[in-house]
C-alpha cells in the first residue's frame, strides 16, 4: 500500500488540480489521460435556491447514475459556522479505461464526514468496477484518517484497486496552518484515545467470534453474521474484509457488518479478518450486478417512487409500477420483468394472492415481498406462494443490495447443484436469520 503524504494545496480548478496532482506524484502522462465524467458542484444559499455550477461529461448514462448517486449526499453546514447549505461538491474523473483516477470530496465543513457518505461512494465504485488508483482530495485535514479507513476497505474489496494517494487540501489558507502542525495535532489526538478503544474493540470482537464459532461449529461456514461495533472503535482498528458480500448498516450506537458468505472468520491481534472462499466471479456477478428489469408493486405512491429511485440508482430499470395485485399480474405478463417487488397489503388483490397467480403463469418468477415488521406470518404465506425474499420497511439501498446478493448466492447454489433446485425450506431459513 502506498503511504499517504498529505500536503496543503488550495483547490480551485479541477483541470489544474488534476495536473497538479499528477505533477506532485510523478504520474506519467498516460496515467492521467482522463476524461472528467462528472464534475458537479451544486449548493443552495439560505435554503432552497439550488444551483448547478458546473457539469461536464461524456458518458451520459454514467453521468446520470453518478449525479443520482451524488444526490445521496447531503452535507449541511453547522449554522454557527456558515449560513449556507451545501448538498455536494465532488468530482469523479475517469480515464479511457474506466479507471478512476481522481475522486474529489469536499464536505466543506468541520462536521465529520459521515461514514455513510463515503460508503455510498465506495459502493458505487465497487459496483461500477472502477479500478486502479484514485486520488482523494479532501478539504478537511481531520477527515484524512476517516477517508483512509474507507479507502482501505475499498482496497481490500476491490482487487483491481492497486494504489491510492491522498491529497489534503485545507480550507484554511496554507500560510495560516503549516503541514507539520496539522499532522502533529492529529497524531496527538489519536494517541490519547487509542488504548481504551483497543481493549473495548478486542473484547467485543473476541466475544463475537466465539459466538460465531460456537453457533456455526468452526471457522468454515455459510451464513449471515452480524457484528455490531461501535463507530469510534471501528475507526481506530482494522477490519479486513476479503469478501464483496459485506454490507454495512449504521444505527445510532453501532455499525452492523453483515457478512453473507462462505469462508473464514479469523481474529488476530486487533484485526478481524473475514475471508471469503474463492468463487467464480463471473457467475457471482450475473444476477445482482447486471441491469435488471423490475416491476414495482405497491398501492402507496411514495413507496413506488422511493423504490424506483433506489433501484435506478443501483443501475436497474423499473419497467412498470402496479398499484394492486391484479395490475401486477397484467404488468407481469406484459413486461416479463426479471424481478418483482411486491407489497403485501393492497386493495383488490393482496400481494400473497398476486404472488400465487404470477407463479402459476411463470414458475421461475422472482418476487421479493416488501413488508413491515409484524407481518412475518404474511411473509411466510408469501414465501409458500413462491416469493423468494423480503424487504423490511423502511427500505434502504443497503437492504436492497443485500436482498439481491442473496439471490446471487442462491443462483450459485443452483448452478453448483445441477440436479436439484434449492429446497424451499432452506430459503425460508435464510429469511428469518
Amino acid at each position: 500500500m502506498e503511504t499517504f503524504t498529505p500536503f496543503v494545496q488550495k483547490t480551485d480548478d479541477i483541470t489544474t488540480d488534476i495536473n497538479n496532482v499528477a505533477e506532485k506524484f510523478n504520474i506519467k502522462n498516460n496515467e492521467v489521460d482522463f476524461e472528467i465524467i462528472s464534475h458537479k458542484t451544486y449548493y443552495s444559499h439560505n435554503k432552497g435556491k439550488k444551483q448547478i455550477v458546473d457539469i461536464s461529461f461524456t458518458d451520459e448514462q454514467l453521468v446520470k447514475s453518478t449525479l443520482e448517486f451524488h444526490q445521496e449526499y447531503e452535507i449541511k453546514i453547522q449554522p454557527k459556522i456558515r449560513d449556507t447549505e451545501f448538498k455536494i461538491v465532488s468530482t469523479l474523473a475517469i480515464n479511457k479505461n474506466k479507471t478512476l483516477v481522481y475522486l474529489f470530496i469536499d464536505p466543506v465543513s468541520v462536521i465529520p464526514l459521515k461514514n455513510s457518505s463515503i460508503k455510498k461512494m465506495i459502493n458505487y465504485i465497487l459496483k461500477k468496477k472502477l479500478r486502479l488508483g484514485l486520488f482523494v482530495d479532501i478539504f478537511e485535514p481531520d477527515l484524512e484518517l476517516e477517508v483512509k479507513k474507507f479507502l482501505k476497505v475499498l482496497k481490500t474489496n476491490n482487487k483491481l484497486l492497486t494504489k491510492y494517494k491522498m491529497l489534503v487540501s485545507s480550507a484554511v489558507e496554507p500560510e495560516q496552518q503549516s503541514k507539520s502542525e496539522m499532522v502533529f495535532h492529529y497524531k496527538r489526538k489519536k494517541k490519547r484515545d487509542s488504548q481504551e478503544k483497543y481493549y473495548a474493540f478486542k473484547d467485543e470482537l473476541v466475544a463475537e467470534y466465539i459466538k460465531i464459532k460456537k453457533t456455526k461449529g468452526g471457522r468454515s461456514c455459510l451464513g449471515k453474521y452480524i457484528l455490531p461495533l461501535k463507530p469510534d472503535i471501528v475507526s481506530s482498528h482494522n477490519i479486513e474484509f476479503n469478501t464483496e458480500s459485506i454490507l454495512i448498516e449504521e444505527n445510532d450506537n453501532t455499525i452492523n457488518y453483515y457478512a453473507n458468505f462462505e469462508g473464514e472468520v479469523k481474529y488476530e491481534e486487533n484485526t478481524l479478518r473475514i475471508i471469503e472462499n474463492a468463487t467464480d466471479t463471473e457467475e457471482e456477478e450475473d444476477f445482482p450486478n447486471r441491469q435488471l428489469n423490475i416491476l414495482v408493486v405497491d398501492d402507496a405512491l411514495i413507496i413506488r417512487r422511493s423504490l424506483k429511485k433506489m433501484l435506478e440508482q443501483l443501475g436497474h430499470n423499473v419497467v412498470a409500477e402496479s398499484k394492486d395485485g391484479i395490475e401486477s399480474i397484467l404488468d407481469y405478463v406484459k413486461y416479463k420483468p426479471d424481478l418483482v417487488t411486491m407489497d403485501i397489503t393492497m386493495p383488490n388483490m393482496n400481494g400473497i394472492e398476486a404472488v400465487g397467480e404470477i407463479k402459476k403463469i411463470d414458475p421461475d418468477a422472482k418476487i421479493i415481498m416488501v413488508t413491515s415488521h409484524g407481518q412475518e406470518e404474511m411473509v411466510i404465506g408469501a414465501i409458500k406462494a413462491g416469493a423468494k425474499g423480503y424487504l423490511l420497511k423502511p427500505i434502504t439501498i443497503p437492504k436492497i443490495i443485500h436482498e439481491l446478493q442473496k439471490f446471487s448466492l442462491r443462483q450459485e447454489k443452483k448452478q453448483n447443484n445441477s440436479t436439484l433446485a434449492v429446497e424451499e425450506d432452506d430459503d425460508d431459513d435464510d429469511f428469518f436469520m
Partner: protein, 166 residues
Amino acid sequence: MLYKSCNDTILPPIVSRTLSFLSQDMDIKINKNSTKYKCKKRFDFNSYTSIIGLIGNKKDIVIISFTNELLNALVEKLTMGGIISKEEEYEIKISASQEILNTILGNVLDKFRTDDDKMIDMTTPQSFFNANSRDKKVNTLSIDIDTEHGSLSVGIANGNLILESQ
C-alpha cells in the same frame, strides 16, 4: 380524566421509533427542546394527519400529524429528490404520511403483545388534511417533536376519536 393517568406504555416506543426514523433513516435533525408528553382532551393537529387503529386488547388510535414543511422534507428524502408534479403532490404527501406511520408502528408492534403473548394487529392507515375532531373531548396523550424542517405531533387517543378533513 387524563389519558390513563398518563402512564401509558404504548406511546413511548412509538415516539422513540419516530425519533430514530427521523434522525437516522431520514437524516433530519431533531431539536432538543421537545420531550414533554401532553395529556389533553384534544389533539393539536397539523396540516397532514394519519391515524391507525390498534386491534386486539389495545384499542387505541395512533395519530401522527405533520406540518406541511416537514412532510415536504420527508417526501423529498423518501423520493431522493425526485421531481413531483403539482398534480400528484397531494397524493404523494398523503401516501408518505400514511406509510411513515405504518412503518413506525409496524416496527414497534411486536412490543405490544397481548396477555397471552399474541401480537396485536393494526388497521390500514387513514389520512386527513387539516383534520378536525368531531368530538371535542377526546382523551389524548401526545408529544410534539420539533425538527429542523418543521414539526410533527405523535399521540394516541381513545377509541372514540372520529376525524374529518376540513
